[in-house]
Amino acid sequence: MPDSNQGVNHIISTNPMSYHAYWALVNMRRDLRELWAHRELLITLTRREIIARYKQTFFGLGWSLMQPILQTIVYTIAFSLVLKTPSAEGIPYPIFVFANLTLWTYFSTTTINAMNSLRANTALITKVAFPREIIPISTILSGLFDFIVTFVVLLIFNFFYGFLPNIKYLYIPLILLVEIFFILDLALVLSVFTVVRRDLTYIVTFLITLYMFLTPVFFSINALPKALQEFYFVNPMGSIIDAFKNVVFYNYEPRWYSLLIASIILLLLFIPCYKFFKRADKNFADVL
């Protein structure tokens, strides 16, 4: 799009015969500028989603804690009491699992929610125009609210086990940013698939559970076979959880090389993911 077209709100010019030309037309800078212009909508939608989730519920905030706490109880019984694992990597088992689940629940819940977000907002998409990526992004950001609630509970648990906050906690927003980028990449692609076929949710739910075992979340990495341990540091969630544990329990720096590789991969993946989404999004109103 030539920049001389000042004041042009949108120009749509397509020729179905030459879609490669159109692909080139999807100018990422323009799309990102458009997204920035709608940042207030993003904030409003995020707020709306948080309010809507808790306004009509009896337990309110309790729901966002329910899943990680129940899982912690189940895994603690299974591992501490049945399999007699008193601690993992030198950390008391209950808080080891709860810390991992703080990040993992955010990842799994938000990925599924963001994936279904376009379908959930059909009324909005077919009636008004705005950059569609705002919908999955607002879902991802509203999930942060649950994360913060869970994180505060983690701090309380840690306090009872004698782990106090330290200066390295300042790295946590950075670690979280890497995780958000990972979810965003996945959501941009998966939400487009879900617009076409809704049954993909079941497959993805299953794959995420499988991924939880590989990462791993509720047992130590040392319990995995050597070959799979290598995977730990290449897989984004592995390096994110590892960095988080280093900061929260050991007062260490994150394993920078591992986090950096994950960040670079995720940033590079963002480009095709975003382009894929933007190329599809003009048709959402017709398909939904």
Binding site: N9, I11, H38, V128, A129, V196, A280, D286
Partner: protein, 442 residues
């Protein structure tokens, strides 16, 4: 300066998206429509709307009106062709689209503005005006799911017009709300047009469109039928309802038709024109080859009135003018009850009554005498000038001119007496009896 430009725009929808494989559906989402069963909602549409223009779009259901609006609003994109839109578009494709039921009116106002990319501080300044216009002072902090549909629509309209868009799109929404709010909306739209906002209006209310719009686009099955003055577009729109008769066709069965020429009408044309009940507010449409210029309604004593006692007559004196040669002019009236049900409709063809052929420029006074054997209540009526249609059989007419929503006629009855009948209308009914007979039974 151009606000909106369409150049050879096509829009195709895939009709069987239900039975697709994952791969082909993905291709479709990605915009690669190679489907075999395509429905063209728009075919080769080209037009330009200038900045500050009030532009109407009319057509039957499914003509493609809403598709054009959705493309202008940026909700969907054309399959091929070029669309340029200059300026911020505020669209009322549906009133209150984007409102979240659990959020309050206040939160939804900011939400709707955010969708249009309007900054928060702008709405802060406008907020009181929005609430005042919607008349929702006591309800603005109540979740919108508690609103009535009228309140919902009022808030939606108020937000859309208050954000000062450069292009305002309104799609057939003013049927909501009471008559007072509708009038307020019309006043607001006139003000917006006067302020130089580009205004795009889709409605079936052709009177409102003629009132507001300078130019209009007439669509038929996704194609441009006509583009030009609103009046011309509206006339062509109504002309399509019936088909004009073929001039060379021999008119059949003339002998069966009766004709009563009254040399002495109660009124002269001047008297009818002077007391005409037709006015500019009336809903009027048609191509006007045969025109109703004036109509006067009186009771049997020649007094102008819409009041009539049950079973009494009203006289409808109508002046028809032929603007072209009309071989077989026909005229009639419709009567509707309070709910809009057609109670009765008849005219010259139904009464087997033949009016003389008219040459261009000739006028004719016709009088309908109608006995109101209908139940007491309020009725509206329409007056029609037409010709038999060349297609569609004897029960289809080509309407030259039609005035709707005339009246209301009030039919009264004396409640101290037995009504002449009960129910909607009186049917011809006769009663006979014989002489009293002495019974041998029981």
């Amino acid at each position: 300066m151009t606000a909106v430009r369409f150049q050879n725009v096509f829009k195709a929808y895939d009709l069987h998206s239900g039975s697709r494989t994952l791969l082909s559906s993905l291709k479709m989402v990605a915009g690669e429509t190679k489907a075999d069963k395509l429905f063209y909602a728009l075919s080769d549409i080209s037009f330009e709307i200038q900045k500050g223009e009030a532009f109407g779009i009319i057509g039957r259901n499914g003509a493609g009106k809403s598709t054009i609006l959705k493309i202008i609003a940026g909700i969907t994109k054309p399959t091929s062709g070029t669309v340029d839109v200059h300026g911020l578009v505020s669209s009322l494709i549906e009133l209150g689209a984007g409102f979240h039921p659990d959020m309050t009116g206040r939160e939804n106002v900011y939400m709707s503005a955010a969708i249009l990319g309007i900054p928060r501080r702008f709405i802060d300044a406008k907020f009181k005006e929005i609430v005042d216009f919607a008349e929702l002072w006591d309800f603005i902090d109540v979740p919108v799911k508690k609103y009535s549909s009228g309140m919902y629509a009022r808030l939606g309209f108020s937000v859309a017009v208050s954000v000062e868009p450069e292009i305002l799109i309104i799609d057939e929404i003013l049927s909501v709300g009471d008559v007072f709010f509708q009038q307020k909306c019309f006043a607001k739209m006139r003000q917006i047009i006067a302020n130089g906002t580009t205004f795009i209006y889709v409605t079936h209310d052709t009177a409102a469109m003629q009132n507001l719009c300078d130019r209009a686009l007439l669509l038929d099955s996704g194609r441009t039928e006509y583009i030009g003055s609103t009046i011309e577009s509206v006339n062509r729109y109504y002309a399509k309802v019936g088909q004009k008769p073929d001039r060379n066709k021999i008119l059949g069965n003339k002998a069966a038709l009766q004709q009563v020429v009254l040399n002495e009408f109660l009124f002269s044309p001047e008297e009818i024109v002077e007391h005409s009940i037709l006015n500019k507010i009336s809903c009027r449409h048609g191509s006007k080859g045969l025109e109703i210029i004036a109509a006067r309604v009186t009771n049997e004593r020649g007094i102008d009135t819409f009041q009539v006692n049950i079973l009494d007559n009203l006289f409808f004196n109508v002046i028809l003018r032929a603007n072209e040669d009309i071989d077989e002019p026909t005229s009639g009236m419709n009567l509707y009850d309070r709910m809009g049900n057609l109670v009765f409709a008849a005219g010259t063809p139904q009464l087997r009554y033949r009016l003389p052929p008219l040459s261009a420029g000739e006028e004719l006074i016709v009088r309908f005498e109608v006995s109101f054997s209908v139940k007491p209540g309020e009725y509206t009526f329409s007056l029609i000038a037409s010709e038999p249609s060349s297609i569609g059989g004897p029960n289809v007419g080509y309407f030259h001119d039609q005035y709707d929503l005339l009246g209301p006629i009030t039919v009264t009855a004396d409640t101290n007496q037995v009504f002449p009948f009960y129910g909607i209308a009186q049917l011809p009914m006769k009663i006979f009896h014989g002489a009293p007979i002495k019974s041998n039974r029981g």
